[in-house]
Symmetry: C2
Subunit: 431 residues, 2 copies
């Protein structure tokens, strides 16, 4: 009883096969029972005629092995159906499903979907999100490896926060207090001194108090860091090429999954436009009557509007904003000597949301000491990090892409939680 | 001033090129200065003749761009050297290196190497460990993707430990207490209900009090979990094939890095031998005069001896031990109905060390309730997990490979810390 994957059934017309999976839908019409079976490769319609006892113990979710003859049936998916001859039950359900996972439209609200996560993930249109997410992570790594980056694994339990501020979780580490890494920033910079070009795909943790549709308290960060750059534009150019590669490949591999979302797979221009923060703010004031010039960052509405502008003016759903003010970026950010008070930093906005933060970093030991003195930070707390700069570090920089954010924006999901298998927020620690 | 990578220099004989990197070694002989330059692709010898002022500001670690003519020189690495014409200093060192990173033999002890991690990682024989580690992680994912596994990202901040016991870290999660995931166990099982076959490469955390050469408090776990298995042998067979693939590929990609370790890239037999725990213990008693029959696990010496036995008897450096006693494995482990009191569980030992734990899991809701009652666990604390089994779950199982452990064993490293970029142990939270 060799198994056939459902998406291979079409190769067995007029033959008997075994398929294994979950009952996804079941419908009785007079003496005939129609079922839809799901496995990880797809869905197939099965028909039980004249022996309805076969179906007596089946309900949504029952795990079965089915034997049947594959026949042509133009009205069914793939143009085939299975005339069922035998059913072996592998596992029964204990309760009826709390969600109707076989409906085209999801009627439950997000909280319910997250509460019953082991069930809601069985909606085809929800599992598709995570198929695409897996693909995004894979393509991120794949591209960077072609560009001679080395993958690294850095600790998540750390002695100091990299991003400053109070949004950091405390861990009881034996008799010490430790923290959860807000980013792999310090470690990826240290690793530039070793491998020059490094990347990491790993969990990061932010103790954000606010509960918004844009924030998670734990997320997956796609990080890279590269040495011997001229300036921040090199990092942006590499991200531009990375996105071109990712989207080109997604078009090949993930058309089926994208269909659920009525979204175009986005087009990435050869050169994503970039504006200095101040230029963007002037445009927002002039074109959209906002009052924002002089603010240290764009607010959510600004981000939406400048993306709208970028789409109309440059036909790009992506836009880089550069030169955030020096006192609003983390201490390791490189100032632009040609634009005093501003940094060689950038955000990438995509469909109204920031999905990347990056920039050139300070690379000289003395410059760190000067910067820390200015910010009244104690360098002694960062010895393990500063050490790397004592012993020769080239000009370098990097960025981080939020995996859930890029997934959500690509698929037009309204809430970032939809792009996390088991999201963590201020109220949600379960499931 | 286009850059040439050092490992490409050999294609530019009698031409001038620019190479960029770190001064790895510098030696003055009369009027001649020899330097070795390192970039991420390799090492090259450079020579400065008749203009020693060029080298005045150079020391170990200085970051430079060098212009020179590539000439044949049989005595140098790659059979070439660079006649240096011009040097641009990118970044100076502030202090002399605390370690002699250009020596063939590392004389510093492990604590010193870990204290000065940003420097010690610049030893070629240390960075090679992490080149290989990156490759192992890549090959793990690559193989599983060919076997239709989907990558998942599960939370590391959790509400309950998966592995039981007290070795779990507490996190202050706003006004709640949360924990750091000991493994993605619960979540990967839930995901079998969605994708049938899943894998994750992620950080896990164990608050082990003991400070041994085999334990880390944070490590990278290579996990997979698969549905519709017959029994634990299916999981072992897949790991067997995974290892064959990994080692075959490592032979192609990582010969250079392996050379540092005087270790053979291990051979993986078509069928890795397996013994029940009791069989292994009988052998240990008979052949090695151990007293261990009836113990619930092998001790470190047992593991070394049974690996020695496997090598001699089966010519395999790998050996599976199966059927650990039911009361010593986590609650989710499937009992073997044909061998009461024992489980369908296994460890994989490699060169004297356990590198994998796995097994078939319980897949029926009622069986979980029965097992938890027996162990006096409260099922209410695990609702989010047990839910998945209410709604139909096929027979399934999986395993976890410790990335640092497999790396260490493959390279013959005596201490697991050597296979972690920035290891965490009871005393070490920095760097």
């Amino acid at each position: 009883m060799e198994r056939a994957l459902i998406n291979q059934a079409v190769n067995f017309i007029n033959q008997e096969i075994w398929v294994w999976g979950w009952i996804h839908k079941i419908r009785k019409l007079g003496g005939i029972v129609f079922i839809i079976l799901r496995d990880y490769s797809g869905f197939i319609q099965g028909v039980i005629e004249n022996q309805t006892d076969l179906s007596e113990e089946l309900s949504i979710g029952t795990v079965v092995k089915l034997k049947g003859e594959v026949v042509k049936e133009e009205r069914a998916v793939q143009g085939i159906e299975l005339k069922i001859k035998e059913i072996k039950i592998q596992s029964r359900v204990v309760e009826d499903y709390p969600l109707q996972i076989n409906k085209k439209k999801i009627s439950a609200n997000l909280d319910t979907l997250l509460d019953y996560r082991s069930v809601s993930l069985r909606y085809p249109q929800i599992s598709a999100i995570f198929k695409i997410q897996a693909q995004i992570a894979k393509l991120f790594r794949e591209y960077l490896i072609t560009q001679n980056f080395t993958e690294i694994f850095t600790p998540k339990i750390v002695c100091a926060g990299a991003e400053g501020g109070s949004n950091i979780f405390k861990v009881e580490y034996f008799d010490k207090t430790a923290y959860l890494a807000q980013s792999p920033q310090f470690y990826k910079q240290i690793m530039v001194g070793v491998f020059e070009r490094v990347f990491e795909v790993g969990s990061v943790f932010r103790a954000e108090q606010h509960n918004t549709a844009r924030h998670l308290n734990e997320y997956v960060s796609l990080d890279y860091e590269m040495g011997f750059i001229e300036n921040h534009l090199d990092i942006m150019r590499l991200e531009n090429n990375l996105l071109i590669y990712m989207l080109k490949e997604l078009k090949k591999t993930s058309q089926e999954e994208f269909k659920f979302f009525e979204m175009e797979i986005p087009f990435v221009p050869e050169e994503i436009p970039h504006l200095k923060l101040r230029e963007a703010q002037s445009i927002l004031e002039k074109n959209y009557h906002k009052t924002c010039l002089g603010e240290p960052d764009l607010d959510p509405e600004d981000e939406r509007l400048i993306c709208q502008y970028s789409k109309e003016k440059y036909n790009s759903e992506f836009i880089f904003i550069t030169h955030f003010p020096s006192d609003k970026r983390p201490f390791y950010t490189m100032d632009d000597s040609e634009d005093p008070g501003y940094t060689k930093s950038f955000d990438l906005l995509f469909r109204g949301l920031e999905i990347t933060t990056g920039g050139q970093r300070i690379n000289r030991y003395e410059d760190y000491l000067t910067k820390m003195k200015k910010l009244r930070m104690n360098p002694d707390n960062f010895n393990f990090y500063l050490e790397a700069f004592k012993y020769g570090m080239p000009p370098h920089g990097g960025l981080a892409i939020g995996l859930e954010r890029i997934t959500a924006r690509m698929l037009g999901l309204a809430n970032i939680r939809e792009a996390s298998l088991f999201p963590r927020d201020i109220n949600r620690l379960i499931p």
